[in-house]
Amino acid sequence: MSSSPLNILDFEKPILELEAQIAEIKRLTAEEGTDRSAEITALEEHRDRLMAQIFSNLSPWDRTLLARHPKRPYTLDYVRLMFDDYMELHGDRLFSDDKAMIGGIGVMGNHQMLWVGQQKGRDLKDRQFRNFGSAKPEGYRKAMRLMKLAEKFHRPILCLVDTPAADCSVGAEERGISEAIARNLMEMSTLEVPVIVAILGEGGSGGALGIGVGNRVIMLENAIYSVIPPEGCAAILFRDPNRKIEAAEALKITSQHALELGVIDEVVPEPLGGAHRNVEQTAKALRETIIRHLNELSTLTGPELAAQRYDKFRNMGTFLCEELTAVTE
Protein backbone atom coordinates (compact mmCIF):
# COMPACT_ATOMS: atom_id res chain seq x y z
CA MET A 1 0.00 0.00 0.00
CA SER A 2 1.58 3.24 -1.13
CA SER A 3 1.30 6.09 1.32
CA SER A 4 1.20 9.08 -0.98
CA PRO A 5 -0.54 11.75 1.08
CA LEU A 6 -2.90 12.32 -1.87
CA ASN A 7 -4.27 8.85 -1.27
CA ILE A 8 -4.94 9.32 2.42
CA LEU A 9 -8.04 10.84 3.96
CA ASP A 10 -7.65 13.03 7.03
CA PHE A 11 -9.37 10.58 9.33
CA GLU A 12 -7.20 7.76 8.02
CA LYS A 13 -3.98 9.55 9.01
CA PRO A 14 -3.70 8.52 12.68
CA ILE A 15 -4.27 4.90 11.71
CA LEU A 16 -1.74 4.95 8.90
CA GLU A 17 0.78 6.65 11.17
CA LEU A 18 0.32 3.92 13.73
CA GLU A 19 0.73 1.29 11.06
CA ALA A 20 3.88 2.94 9.79
CA GLN A 21 5.19 2.87 13.35
CA ILE A 22 4.34 -0.81 13.71
CA ALA A 23 6.01 -1.60 10.40
CA GLU A 24 9.14 0.28 11.45
CA ILE A 25 9.37 -1.63 14.72
CA LYS A 26 8.90 -4.91 12.88
CA ARG A 27 11.67 -3.95 10.51
CA LEU A 28 13.98 -3.10 13.36
CA THR A 29 13.07 -6.33 15.10
CA ALA A 30 14.06 -8.25 12.01
CA GLU A 31 17.30 -6.28 11.64
CA GLU A 32 18.38 -6.17 15.28
CA GLY A 33 16.86 -9.38 16.48
CA THR A 34 15.45 -7.87 19.68
CA ASP A 35 12.02 -9.03 20.71
CA ARG A 36 9.62 -6.10 20.69
CA SER A 37 6.45 -8.11 20.18
CA ALA A 38 4.78 -6.74 23.31
CA GLU A 39 5.22 -3.23 22.00
CA ILE A 40 3.88 -4.28 18.62
CA THR A 41 0.86 -5.97 20.15
CA ALA A 42 0.10 -2.88 22.19
CA LEU A 43 0.35 -0.66 19.17
CA GLU A 44 -1.81 -2.99 17.12
CA GLU A 45 -4.44 -3.03 19.81
CA HIS A 46 -4.30 0.71 19.96
CA ARG A 47 -4.68 0.84 16.18
CA ASP A 48 -7.69 -1.49 16.28
CA ARG A 49 -9.39 0.54 19.00
CA LEU A 50 -8.72 3.74 17.10
CA MET A 51 -10.11 2.28 13.87
CA ALA A 52 -13.23 1.01 15.60
CA GLN A 53 -13.69 4.41 17.12
CA ILE A 54 -13.12 6.38 13.93
CA PHE A 55 -15.14 4.13 11.65
CA SER A 56 -18.12 3.83 13.91
CA ASN A 57 -18.52 7.59 13.84
CA LEU A 58 -18.29 8.41 10.16
CA SER A 59 -20.41 11.31 8.99
CA PRO A 60 -22.17 11.14 5.62
CA TRP A 61 -19.46 13.41 4.28
CA ASP A 62 -16.75 11.07 5.60
CA ARG A 63 -18.49 8.23 3.76
CA THR A 64 -18.61 10.37 0.63
CA LEU A 65 -14.83 10.68 0.88
CA LEU A 66 -14.52 6.93 1.41
CA ALA A 67 -16.80 6.23 -1.56
CA ARG A 68 -14.52 8.42 -3.68
CA HIS A 69 -11.31 7.17 -2.06
CA PRO A 70 -8.57 7.02 -4.67
CA LYS A 71 -7.66 3.55 -3.44
CA ARG A 72 -11.23 2.29 -3.43
CA PRO A 73 -11.60 -0.87 -5.51
CA TYR A 74 -13.29 -0.23 -8.83
CA THR A 75 -15.61 -2.32 -10.97
CA LEU A 76 -12.90 -4.34 -12.73
CA ASP A 77 -11.27 -5.15 -9.38
CA TYR A 78 -14.50 -6.80 -8.29
CA VAL A 79 -15.06 -8.41 -11.67
CA ARG A 80 -11.64 -10.06 -11.48
CA LEU A 81 -12.18 -11.25 -7.92
CA MET A 82 -15.82 -12.26 -8.02
CA PHE A 83 -16.00 -14.15 -11.29
CA ASP A 84 -14.36 -17.52 -11.79
CA ASP A 85 -13.89 -16.48 -15.41
CA TYR A 86 -14.96 -13.45 -17.37
CA MET A 87 -14.69 -11.82 -20.77
CA GLU A 88 -15.26 -8.23 -21.79
CA LEU A 89 -17.52 -7.37 -24.72
CA HIS A 90 -17.36 -4.01 -26.44
CA GLY A 91 -19.32 -1.41 -28.31
CA ASP A 92 -22.81 -0.01 -28.65
CA ARG A 93 -23.02 -0.94 -32.37
CA LEU A 94 -24.00 2.66 -33.01
CA PHE A 95 -21.17 5.04 -32.36
CA SER A 96 -18.31 4.00 -30.15
CA ASP A 97 -16.94 1.87 -27.37
CA ASP A 98 -17.24 3.80 -24.13
CA LYS A 99 -14.36 3.08 -21.78
CA ALA A 100 -16.26 4.45 -18.79
CA MET A 101 -18.96 1.81 -19.16
CA ILE A 102 -17.73 -1.72 -19.48
CA GLY A 103 -19.44 -5.05 -19.62
CA GLY A 104 -19.20 -8.65 -20.61
CA ILE A 105 -19.95 -12.17 -19.57
CA GLY A 106 -18.79 -13.97 -16.46
CA VAL A 107 -19.11 -17.20 -14.53
CA MET A 108 -19.90 -16.97 -10.82
CA GLY A 109 -20.26 -20.39 -9.28
CA ASN A 110 -22.84 -22.11 -11.40
CA HIS A 111 -24.24 -18.86 -12.74
CA GLN A 112 -23.41 -17.74 -16.28
CA MET A 113 -23.95 -14.00 -16.03
CA LEU A 114 -23.88 -10.77 -17.94
CA TRP A 115 -22.28 -7.85 -16.16
CA VAL A 116 -22.02 -4.14 -16.85
CA GLY A 117 -20.57 -1.33 -14.80
CA GLN A 118 -18.94 2.06 -14.76
CA GLN A 119 -15.16 1.95 -14.57
CA LYS A 120 -13.03 4.64 -13.00
CA GLY A 121 -9.32 5.02 -13.64
CA ARG A 122 -6.58 4.62 -11.09
CA ASP A 123 -3.83 6.98 -12.21
CA LEU A 124 -4.12 10.26 -14.08
CA LYS A 125 -3.83 8.72 -17.54
CA ASP A 126 -6.18 5.90 -16.70
CA ARG A 127 -8.66 8.31 -15.17
CA GLN A 128 -8.80 10.28 -18.38
CA PHE A 129 -9.06 7.09 -20.42
CA ARG A 130 -12.06 6.11 -18.29
CA ASN A 131 -13.47 9.67 -18.36
CA PHE A 132 -13.47 9.58 -14.54
CA GLY A 133 -16.16 6.91 -14.62
CA SER A 134 -18.66 9.19 -16.35
CA ALA A 135 -20.31 7.29 -19.16
CA LYS A 136 -21.53 8.88 -22.37
CA PRO A 137 -24.69 7.95 -24.29
CA GLU A 138 -22.74 5.22 -26.07
CA GLY A 139 -21.91 3.71 -22.67
CA TYR A 140 -25.54 3.44 -21.64
CA ARG A 141 -26.44 2.09 -25.07
CA LYS A 142 -23.68 -0.48 -24.88
CA ALA A 143 -24.94 -1.54 -21.46
CA MET A 144 -28.45 -1.92 -22.85
CA ARG A 145 -27.21 -3.91 -25.84
CA LEU A 146 -25.49 -6.31 -23.49
CA MET A 147 -28.47 -6.55 -21.17
CA LYS A 148 -30.67 -7.44 -24.15
CA LEU A 149 -28.14 -10.14 -24.99
CA ALA A 150 -28.53 -11.56 -21.49
CA GLU A 151 -32.28 -11.49 -21.89
CA LYS A 152 -32.06 -13.34 -25.19
CA PHE A 153 -30.02 -16.07 -23.53
CA HIS A 154 -31.97 -16.08 -20.27
CA ARG A 155 -28.94 -15.10 -18.22
CA PRO A 156 -29.04 -12.93 -15.09
CA ILE A 157 -27.58 -9.45 -15.18
CA LEU A 158 -25.26 -7.82 -12.66
CA CYS A 159 -24.90 -4.03 -12.73
CA LEU A 160 -21.93 -2.58 -10.89
CA VAL A 161 -22.50 1.10 -10.15
CA ASP A 162 -19.65 3.50 -9.51
CA THR A 163 -19.92 6.90 -11.15
CA PRO A 164 -19.84 10.52 -10.03
CA ALA A 165 -22.44 11.28 -12.73
CA ALA A 166 -23.15 10.67 -16.39
CA ASP A 167 -20.98 12.65 -18.78
CA CYS A 168 -22.50 16.04 -19.60
CA SER A 169 -20.08 17.26 -22.24
CA VAL A 170 -21.32 18.88 -25.43
CA GLY A 171 -20.81 15.58 -27.24
CA ALA A 172 -22.89 13.71 -24.69
CA GLU A 173 -25.72 16.21 -25.05
CA GLU A 174 -25.44 16.04 -28.83
CA ARG A 175 -25.80 12.28 -28.82
CA GLY A 176 -28.64 12.31 -26.34
CA ILE A 177 -27.37 11.41 -22.88
CA SER A 178 -30.90 12.05 -21.60
CA GLU A 179 -32.41 9.74 -24.18
CA ALA A 180 -29.87 7.02 -23.47
CA ILE A 181 -30.49 7.06 -19.72
CA ALA A 182 -34.26 7.34 -20.13
CA ARG A 183 -34.34 4.40 -22.53
CA ASN A 184 -32.30 2.28 -20.13
CA LEU A 185 -34.70 3.06 -17.30
CA MET A 186 -37.62 2.04 -19.47
CA GLU A 187 -36.05 -1.06 -20.99
CA MET A 188 -34.56 -2.30 -17.74
CA SER A 189 -38.04 -2.31 -16.24
CA THR A 190 -39.14 -4.90 -18.81
CA LEU A 191 -36.17 -7.31 -18.77
CA GLU A 192 -37.36 -10.84 -18.19
CA VAL A 193 -34.23 -12.02 -16.42
CA PRO A 194 -32.94 -11.36 -12.89
CA VAL A 195 -31.21 -7.99 -12.54
CA ILE A 196 -29.00 -7.36 -9.52
CA VAL A 197 -27.57 -3.91 -8.97
CA ALA A 198 -24.62 -3.40 -6.67
CA ILE A 199 -23.57 0.14 -5.79
CA LEU A 200 -19.85 -0.07 -5.19
CA GLY A 201 -18.70 3.49 -4.66
CA GLU A 202 -20.39 6.59 -5.98
CA GLY A 203 -24.01 6.16 -6.94
CA GLY A 204 -24.18 9.46 -8.74
CA SER A 205 -27.68 10.48 -9.74
CA GLY A 206 -29.11 9.60 -13.18
CA GLY A 207 -25.74 8.33 -14.26
CA ALA A 208 -25.95 5.63 -11.61
CA LEU A 209 -29.64 4.93 -12.04
CA GLY A 210 -29.08 4.43 -15.78
CA ILE A 211 -27.90 0.92 -14.94
CA GLY A 212 -29.63 0.80 -11.59
CA VAL A 213 -33.09 -0.68 -12.11
CA GLY A 214 -32.76 -4.08 -10.49
CA ASN A 215 -34.88 -6.74 -8.86
CA ARG A 216 -32.44 -6.33 -6.02
CA VAL A 217 -30.32 -3.31 -5.30
CA ILE A 218 -27.49 -3.84 -2.86
CA MET A 219 -24.94 -1.35 -1.67
CA LEU A 220 -21.53 -1.53 -0.13
CA GLU A 221 -21.47 -0.08 3.36
CA ASN A 222 -19.46 3.02 2.49
CA ALA A 223 -20.94 3.66 -0.92
CA ILE A 224 -23.22 6.65 -1.42
CA TYR A 225 -26.34 7.01 -3.53
CA SER A 226 -27.47 10.55 -4.20
CA VAL A 227 -29.57 12.62 -6.54
CA ILE A 228 -26.87 15.29 -6.56
CA PRO A 229 -23.33 15.52 -5.15
CA PRO A 230 -23.33 17.21 -1.73
CA GLU A 231 -21.23 20.02 -3.18
CA GLY A 232 -23.85 20.67 -5.86
CA CYS A 233 -26.71 20.63 -3.40
CA ALA A 234 -24.84 23.03 -1.12
CA ALA A 235 -24.13 25.39 -4.01
CA ILE A 236 -27.70 25.38 -5.29
CA LEU A 237 -29.86 25.07 -2.17
CA PHE A 238 -27.58 26.57 0.44
CA ARG A 239 -25.90 28.97 -2.01
CA ASP A 240 -22.52 27.97 -0.55
CA PRO A 241 -20.49 25.02 -1.86
CA ASN A 242 -18.60 24.87 1.42
CA ARG A 243 -21.70 23.69 3.23
CA LYS A 244 -21.21 20.26 1.59
CA ILE A 245 -20.93 18.45 4.95
CA GLU A 246 -24.33 19.78 5.93
CA ALA A 247 -25.71 18.91 2.48
CA ALA A 248 -24.33 15.36 2.69
CA GLU A 249 -26.19 15.04 5.97
CA ALA A 250 -29.44 16.50 4.66
CA LEU A 251 -29.49 14.46 1.44
CA LYS A 252 -29.39 11.11 3.30
CA ILE A 253 -26.93 9.56 0.92
CA THR A 254 -25.44 6.72 2.95
CA SER A 255 -26.21 3.04 2.49
CA GLN A 256 -28.04 2.99 5.81
CA HIS A 257 -30.26 5.88 4.73
CA ALA A 258 -30.93 4.29 1.36
CA LEU A 259 -31.97 1.12 3.14
CA GLU A 260 -34.27 3.01 5.48
CA LEU A 261 -35.82 4.92 2.59
CA GLY A 262 -36.57 1.63 0.80
CA VAL A 263 -34.35 2.44 -2.15
CA ILE A 264 -32.01 -0.51 -1.64
CA ASP A 265 -32.52 -4.02 -0.30
CA GLU A 266 -29.34 -4.74 1.60
CA VAL A 267 -26.12 -3.20 2.82
CA VAL A 268 -23.02 -5.30 2.24
CA PRO A 269 -20.54 -4.70 5.08
CA GLU A 270 -17.03 -3.57 4.28
CA PRO A 271 -13.90 -4.41 6.25
CA LEU A 272 -13.15 -1.98 9.05
CA GLY A 273 -11.54 1.04 7.45
CA GLY A 274 -13.25 0.58 4.10
CA ALA A 275 -13.23 -1.71 1.07
CA HIS A 276 -9.73 -0.66 0.03
CA ARG A 277 -8.23 -2.11 3.23
CA ASN A 278 -9.20 -5.60 2.11
CA VAL A 279 -10.43 -5.88 -1.45
CA GLU A 280 -10.56 -9.68 -1.43
CA GLN A 281 -12.75 -9.77 1.64
CA THR A 282 -15.09 -7.14 0.20
CA ALA A 283 -15.35 -8.97 -3.10
CA LYS A 284 -16.07 -12.22 -1.28
CA ALA A 285 -18.86 -10.66 0.76
CA LEU A 286 -20.29 -9.07 -2.37
CA ARG A 287 -20.12 -12.31 -4.31
CA GLU A 288 -21.89 -14.22 -1.58
CA THR A 289 -24.64 -11.63 -1.37
CA ILE A 290 -25.11 -11.63 -5.13
CA ILE A 291 -25.32 -15.41 -5.31
CA ARG A 292 -27.81 -15.49 -2.46
CA HIS A 293 -30.09 -13.01 -4.23
CA LEU A 294 -29.67 -14.81 -7.54
CA ASN A 295 -30.73 -18.05 -5.94
CA GLU A 296 -33.74 -16.39 -4.40
CA LEU A 297 -34.77 -14.88 -7.74
CA SER A 298 -34.30 -18.13 -9.61
CA THR A 299 -37.77 -19.28 -8.60
CA LEU A 300 -39.42 -16.45 -10.56
CA THR A 301 -40.40 -16.64 -14.22
CA GLY A 302 -39.37 -13.97 -16.71
CA PRO A 303 -42.66 -12.07 -16.56
CA GLU A 304 -42.66 -12.35 -12.76
CA LEU A 305 -39.18 -10.85 -12.65
CA ALA A 306 -40.26 -7.91 -14.79
CA ALA A 307 -43.40 -7.44 -12.70
CA GLN A 308 -41.47 -7.57 -9.42
CA ARG A 309 -39.03 -4.97 -10.73
CA TYR A 310 -41.84 -2.75 -11.95
CA ASP A 311 -43.69 -2.90 -8.66
CA LYS A 312 -40.52 -2.28 -6.70
CA PHE A 313 -39.73 1.00 -8.46
CA ARG A 314 -43.33 1.95 -8.98
CA ASN A 315 -43.77 2.12 -5.24
CA MET A 316 -40.77 4.31 -4.57
CA GLY A 317 -41.44 7.80 -3.33
CA THR A 318 -43.14 9.14 -0.23
CA PHE A 319 -46.20 11.37 -0.15
CA LEU A 320 -49.33 11.97 1.83
CA CYS A 321 -52.95 11.55 0.84
CA GLU A 322 -55.39 14.22 1.89
CA GLU A 323 -58.76 12.93 2.95
CA LEU A 324 -61.03 14.19 0.24
CA THR A 325 -63.95 16.06 1.66
CA ALA A 326 -67.09 15.29 -0.24
CA VAL A 327 -67.97 18.22 -2.44
CA THR A 328 -71.60 18.16 -3.43
CA GLU A 329 -72.67 21.66 -4.14
Binding site: R175, G176, R183, M316, G317, E322
Partner: protein, 288 residues
Protein backbone atom coordinates in the same frame (compact mmCIF):
# COMPACT_ATOMS: atom_id res chain seq x y z
CA UNK B 1 -60.03 31.98 -22.34
CA UNK B 2 -62.96 32.53 -20.05
CA UNK B 3 -62.82 31.19 -16.55
CA UNK B 4 -66.56 30.78 -16.46
CA UNK B 5 -66.65 27.36 -14.88
CA UNK B 6 -65.99 25.21 -17.90
CA UNK B 7 -64.24 22.64 -15.78
CA UNK B 8 -66.08 19.38 -15.31
CA UNK B 9 -66.68 19.50 -11.61
CA UNK B 10 -66.99 22.36 -9.22
CA UNK B 11 -64.65 21.14 -6.59
CA UNK B 12 -62.21 22.97 -4.40
CA UNK B 13 -59.86 22.18 -7.20
CA UNK B 14 -61.97 23.76 -9.89
CA UNK B 15 -62.11 26.90 -7.87
CA UNK B 16 -58.37 26.88 -7.67
CA UNK B 17 -58.18 26.49 -11.41
CA UNK B 18 -60.36 29.51 -11.88
CA UNK B 19 -58.19 31.54 -9.56
CA UNK B 20 -55.13 30.37 -11.39
CA UNK B 21 -56.49 31.39 -14.75
CA UNK B 22 -57.05 34.89 -13.45
CA UNK B 23 -53.71 35.05 -11.71
CA UNK B 24 -51.97 34.08 -14.88
CA UNK B 25 -52.51 37.53 -16.26
CA UNK B 26 -49.66 39.73 -15.12
CA UNK B 27 -50.70 42.80 -13.20
CA UNK B 28 -51.31 45.82 -15.28
CA UNK B 29 -52.02 46.30 -18.93
CA UNK B 30 -48.83 45.33 -20.63
CA UNK B 31 -45.84 43.01 -20.51
CA UNK B 32 -42.35 43.50 -21.86
CA UNK B 33 -41.00 40.69 -24.03
CA UNK B 34 -37.86 39.38 -22.33
CA UNK B 35 -36.32 38.47 -25.69
CA UNK B 36 -36.95 41.48 -27.95
CA UNK B 37 -38.07 44.03 -25.31
CA UNK B 38 -41.23 44.78 -27.26
CA UNK B 39 -44.08 46.16 -25.17
CA UNK B 40 -46.99 43.75 -25.53
CA UNK B 41 -50.54 44.51 -24.46
CA UNK B 42 -51.74 41.75 -22.23
CA UNK B 43 -55.01 41.30 -24.09
CA UNK B 44 -53.15 40.92 -27.36
CA UNK B 45 -50.59 38.66 -25.76
CA UNK B 46 -53.31 36.45 -24.31
CA UNK B 47 -55.08 36.28 -27.67
CA UNK B 48 -51.76 35.25 -29.17
CA UNK B 49 -51.49 32.35 -26.67
CA UNK B 50 -48.78 34.27 -24.82
CA UNK B 51 -46.40 34.32 -27.75
CA UNK B 52 -44.63 37.56 -28.64
CA UNK B 53 -46.06 38.72 -31.92
CA UNK B 54 -42.80 40.35 -32.86
CA UNK B 55 -40.06 37.79 -32.09
CA UNK B 56 -42.07 34.59 -31.51
CA UNK B 57 -40.84 34.31 -27.92
CA UNK B 58 -42.98 31.74 -26.14
CA UNK B 59 -43.78 32.92 -22.63
CA UNK B 60 -43.99 30.22 -19.99
CA UNK B 61 -47.53 29.09 -19.30
CA UNK B 62 -49.04 28.04 -16.03
CA UNK B 63 -50.36 24.49 -16.04
CA UNK B 64 -53.97 25.59 -16.16
CA UNK B 65 -53.41 28.15 -18.89
CA UNK B 66 -51.82 25.37 -20.89
CA UNK B 67 -54.91 23.26 -20.39
CA UNK B 68 -57.15 26.13 -21.43
CA UNK B 69 -55.12 26.57 -24.60
CA UNK B 70 -54.99 22.86 -25.40
CA UNK B 71 -57.95 20.67 -24.50
CA UNK B 72 -61.58 20.89 -25.57
CA UNK B 73 -63.55 23.39 -23.54
CA UNK B 74 -64.99 21.96 -20.37
CA UNK B 75 -63.47 18.55 -20.88
CA UNK B 76 -60.70 18.59 -18.28
CA UNK B 77 -61.20 16.52 -15.18
CA UNK B 78 -58.25 16.52 -12.83
CA UNK B 79 -57.32 13.46 -10.82
CA UNK B 80 -54.77 12.56 -8.16
CA UNK B 81 -55.57 15.85 -6.45
CA UNK B 82 -55.47 14.16 -3.06
CA UNK B 83 -51.68 13.71 -3.21
CA UNK B 84 -49.71 15.92 -0.84
CA UNK B 85 -45.99 16.40 -0.59
CA UNK B 86 -44.26 14.87 2.42
CA UNK B 87 -40.82 15.58 3.82
CA UNK B 88 -39.39 12.06 4.02
CA UNK B 89 -35.82 13.25 4.60
CA UNK B 90 -36.79 15.91 7.12
CA UNK B 91 -34.96 18.21 4.78
CA UNK B 92 -34.33 21.62 6.37
CA UNK B 93 -36.91 24.27 5.51
CA UNK B 94 -38.68 22.06 2.94
CA UNK B 95 -42.14 22.53 4.45
CA UNK B 96 -41.72 26.30 4.50
CA UNK B 97 -40.65 26.27 0.87
CA UNK B 98 -43.67 24.18 -0.09
CA UNK B 99 -46.00 26.50 1.77
CA UNK B 100 -44.47 29.48 0.03
CA UNK B 101 -45.00 27.99 -3.42
CA UNK B 102 -48.47 26.76 -2.60
CA UNK B 103 -49.36 30.29 -1.70
CA UNK B 104 -47.61 31.78 -4.71
CA UNK B 105 -48.95 29.38 -7.34
CA UNK B 106 -52.29 28.38 -5.89
CA UNK B 107 -51.29 24.78 -6.63
CA UNK B 108 -50.36 21.92 -4.35
CA UNK B 109 -47.54 20.64 -6.51
CA UNK B 110 -45.64 21.04 -9.77
CA UNK B 111 -47.65 18.57 -11.85
CA UNK B 112 -51.30 18.52 -12.86
CA UNK B 113 -52.86 15.41 -14.41
CA UNK B 114 -56.33 14.53 -15.55
CA UNK B 115 -58.68 13.24 -18.20
CA UNK B 116 -59.73 15.47 -21.07
CA UNK B 117 -60.72 15.54 -24.71
CA UNK B 118 -58.74 16.97 -27.57
CA UNK B 119 -60.61 17.34 -30.86
CA UNK B 120 -63.20 15.00 -29.36
CA UNK B 121 -60.61 12.30 -28.70
CA UNK B 122 -60.58 11.19 -25.07
CA UNK B 123 -57.09 11.56 -23.66
CA UNK B 124 -55.14 11.61 -20.45
CA UNK B 125 -53.03 14.70 -20.05
CA UNK B 126 -50.33 15.91 -17.70
CA UNK B 127 -48.91 19.41 -17.45
CA UNK B 128 -45.95 20.52 -15.39
CA UNK B 129 -46.13 23.77 -13.47
CA UNK B 130 -42.80 25.56 -13.67
CA UNK B 131 -44.06 28.18 -11.25
CA UNK B 132 -44.04 25.61 -8.45
CA UNK B 133 -40.45 25.12 -7.30
CA UNK B 134 -39.16 25.09 -10.89
CA UNK B 135 -41.29 22.05 -11.71
CA UNK B 136 -38.74 19.97 -9.86
CA UNK B 137 -39.70 16.29 -9.77
CA UNK B 138 -40.37 14.92 -6.33
CA UNK B 139 -42.49 12.00 -5.18
CA UNK B 140 -45.82 13.68 -5.96
CA UNK B 141 -44.73 14.79 -9.43
CA UNK B 142 -43.50 11.27 -10.19
CA UNK B 143 -46.57 9.64 -8.73
CA UNK B 144 -48.89 11.86 -10.75
CA UNK B 145 -47.04 11.16 -14.01
CA UNK B 146 -47.13 7.46 -13.24
CA UNK B 147 -50.83 7.53 -12.43
CA UNK B 148 -51.49 9.41 -15.65
CA UNK B 149 -49.79 6.61 -17.57
CA UNK B 150 -51.52 3.87 -15.63
CA UNK B 151 -54.86 5.59 -16.19
CA UNK B 152 -54.13 5.81 -19.91
CA UNK B 153 -53.41 2.08 -19.96
CA UNK B 154 -56.44 1.18 -17.89
CA UNK B 155 -58.76 3.31 -20.01
CA UNK B 156 -56.99 2.68 -23.33
CA UNK B 157 -56.42 6.35 -23.96
CA UNK B 158 -53.54 8.27 -25.49
CA UNK B 159 -51.40 10.37 -23.19
CA UNK B 160 -50.07 13.85 -23.77
CA UNK B 161 -47.45 15.19 -21.38
CA UNK B 162 -46.50 18.84 -21.38
CA UNK B 163 -43.10 18.51 -19.77
CA UNK B 164 -41.14 21.09 -17.90
CA UNK B 165 -38.63 20.78 -15.10
CA UNK B 166 -35.54 22.33 -13.66
CA UNK B 167 -34.51 18.92 -12.36
CA UNK B 168 -34.97 16.67 -9.39
CA UNK B 169 -36.53 17.83 -6.14
CA UNK B 170 -33.33 17.80 -4.12
CA UNK B 171 -35.25 18.12 -0.87
CA UNK B 172 -36.51 14.58 -1.40
CA UNK B 173 -33.02 13.27 -2.09
CA UNK B 174 -32.69 9.81 -3.52
CA UNK B 175 -36.47 9.38 -3.55
CA UNK B 176 -36.73 12.09 -6.17
CA UNK B 177 -34.14 10.24 -8.28
CA UNK B 178 -36.28 7.13 -8.16
CA UNK B 179 -39.13 9.00 -9.86
CA UNK B 180 -37.07 8.77 -13.03
CA UNK B 181 -37.13 4.98 -12.93
CA UNK B 182 -40.76 4.89 -11.88
CA UNK B 183 -42.08 7.15 -14.63
CA UNK B 184 -39.92 5.51 -17.31
CA UNK B 185 -41.15 2.08 -16.33
CA UNK B 186 -44.70 3.37 -16.64
CA UNK B 187 -43.95 4.39 -20.24
CA UNK B 188 -43.00 0.80 -20.97
CA UNK B 189 -46.51 -0.21 -19.94
CA UNK B 190 -47.97 2.28 -22.41
CA UNK B 191 -45.80 0.79 -25.14
CA UNK B 192 -46.89 -2.73 -24.26
CA UNK B 193 -50.49 -1.54 -24.53
CA UNK B 194 -49.81 0.10 -27.91
CA UNK B 195 -51.06 3.47 -26.73
CA UNK B 196 -49.80 6.78 -28.13
CA UNK B 197 -47.63 8.81 -25.83
CA UNK B 198 -46.81 12.31 -26.99
CA UNK B 199 -44.33 14.53 -25.13
CA UNK B 200 -44.31 18.27 -25.53
CA UNK B 201 -41.13 19.78 -24.16
CA UNK B 202 -41.62 23.31 -22.94
CA UNK B 203 -39.13 25.80 -21.56
CA UNK B 204 -37.22 24.49 -19.64
CA UNK B 205 -37.09 20.68 -19.69
CA UNK B 206 -33.85 19.48 -18.15
CA UNK B 207 -32.10 16.97 -15.94
CA UNK B 208 -34.07 14.14 -14.35
CA UNK B 209 -37.28 14.79 -16.25
CA UNK B 210 -35.47 15.08 -19.57
CA UNK B 211 -33.55 11.90 -18.76
CA UNK B 212 -36.71 9.94 -18.08
CA UNK B 213 -40.31 10.08 -19.32
CA UNK B 214 -39.83 13.31 -21.31
CA UNK B 215 -37.45 11.56 -23.72
CA UNK B 216 -39.61 8.50 -24.23
CA UNK B 217 -42.57 9.77 -26.21
CA UNK B 218 -43.59 8.05 -29.42
CA UNK B 219 -43.44 11.53 -30.79
CA UNK B 220 -41.58 14.35 -29.07
CA UNK B 221 -42.49 17.93 -29.83
CA UNK B 222 -40.75 21.03 -28.51
CA UNK B 223 -41.91 24.60 -28.33
CA UNK B 224 -39.57 27.01 -30.13
CA UNK B 225 -36.57 28.25 -28.21
CA UNK B 226 -37.07 26.09 -25.14
CA UNK B 227 -34.10 25.12 -22.98
CA UNK B 228 -33.84 21.34 -23.25
CA UNK B 229 -30.98 19.18 -22.01
CA UNK B 230 -29.51 16.80 -19.51
CA UNK B 231 -27.26 19.03 -17.46
CA UNK B 232 -29.21 21.77 -15.76
CA UNK B 233 -28.18 25.31 -16.57
CA UNK B 234 -26.06 25.58 -13.41
CA UNK B 235 -24.23 22.33 -13.96
CA UNK B 236 -23.58 23.08 -17.60
CA UNK B 237 -22.16 26.48 -16.77
CA UNK B 238 -20.00 25.14 -13.97
CA UNK B 239 -18.59 22.43 -16.17
CA UNK B 240 -17.05 25.16 -18.32
CA UNK B 241 -18.02 23.37 -21.48
CA UNK B 242 -15.75 23.84 -24.43
CA UNK B 243 -16.90 24.04 -28.03
CA UNK B 244 -20.36 24.89 -26.88
CA UNK B 245 -22.45 25.64 -29.95
CA UNK B 246 -24.52 28.83 -29.86
CA UNK B 247 -27.82 26.93 -29.85
CA UNK B 248 -26.65 24.46 -27.18
CA UNK B 249 -29.50 22.80 -25.27
CA UNK B 250 -32.26 24.53 -27.20
CA UNK B 251 -35.20 23.00 -29.06
CA UNK B 252 -33.34 23.73 -32.29
CA UNK B 253 -30.23 21.91 -31.03
CA UNK B 254 -32.30 18.88 -30.10
CA UNK B 255 -33.99 18.80 -33.50
CA UNK B 256 -30.66 19.04 -35.30
CA UNK B 257 -29.32 16.14 -33.27
CA UNK B 258 -32.28 13.90 -33.91
CA UNK B 259 -33.67 13.94 -30.38
CA UNK B 260 -37.08 15.44 -31.11
CA UNK B 261 -39.55 15.03 -33.96
CA UNK B 262 -40.42 18.64 -34.51
CA UNK B 263 -40.62 22.16 -33.19
CA UNK B 264 -44.19 23.36 -33.14
CA UNK B 265 -45.21 26.95 -32.41
CA UNK B 266 -47.93 27.27 -29.83
CA UNK B 267 -50.63 28.35 -32.27
CA UNK B 268 -50.17 25.10 -34.24
CA UNK B 269 -49.90 22.86 -31.21
CA UNK B 270 -53.51 21.77 -31.01
CA UNK B 271 -53.85 20.91 -34.69
CA UNK B 272 -50.54 19.05 -34.63
CA UNK B 273 -51.53 17.05 -31.59
CA UNK B 274 -54.84 16.26 -33.24
CA UNK B 275 -53.18 14.81 -36.33
CA UNK B 276 -50.81 12.76 -34.24
CA UNK B 277 -53.65 11.41 -32.11
CA UNK B 278 -55.55 10.49 -35.24
CA UNK B 279 -52.52 8.59 -36.47
CA UNK B 280 -51.94 6.74 -33.24
CA UNK B 281 -55.24 6.41 -31.56
CA UNK B 282 -58.27 4.88 -33.22
CA UNK B 283 -56.88 1.61 -34.28
CA UNK B 284 -55.06 1.19 -31.00
CA UNK B 285 -58.41 1.22 -29.29
CA UNK B 286 -59.67 -1.53 -31.57
CA UNK B 287 -56.63 -3.70 -31.22
CA UNK B 288 -56.17 -3.88 -27.51
Amino acid sequence: MANTGWFGRKSKNARKIARQTVDALPDGLWTKCPKCNEILFNKELEKNLRVCGKCNYHFKLSAYDRLVFTVDDGSFEEFATELRTANPLNFPKYEAKLAEYREKSGLDESMVVGRAKLAEIPIVIGVAEFGFLGASMGSVYGEKVTRAMETAVAEKKPLIMFCSSGGARMHEGILSLMQMAKTSAAVARMNQAGLPYICVLTDPTTAGVHASFASLGDVIIAEPGALIGFAGARVATQAGLINRPPNFQTSEFQLEHGMIDMIVPRREMKSTLTKLLQFGYREAANVI
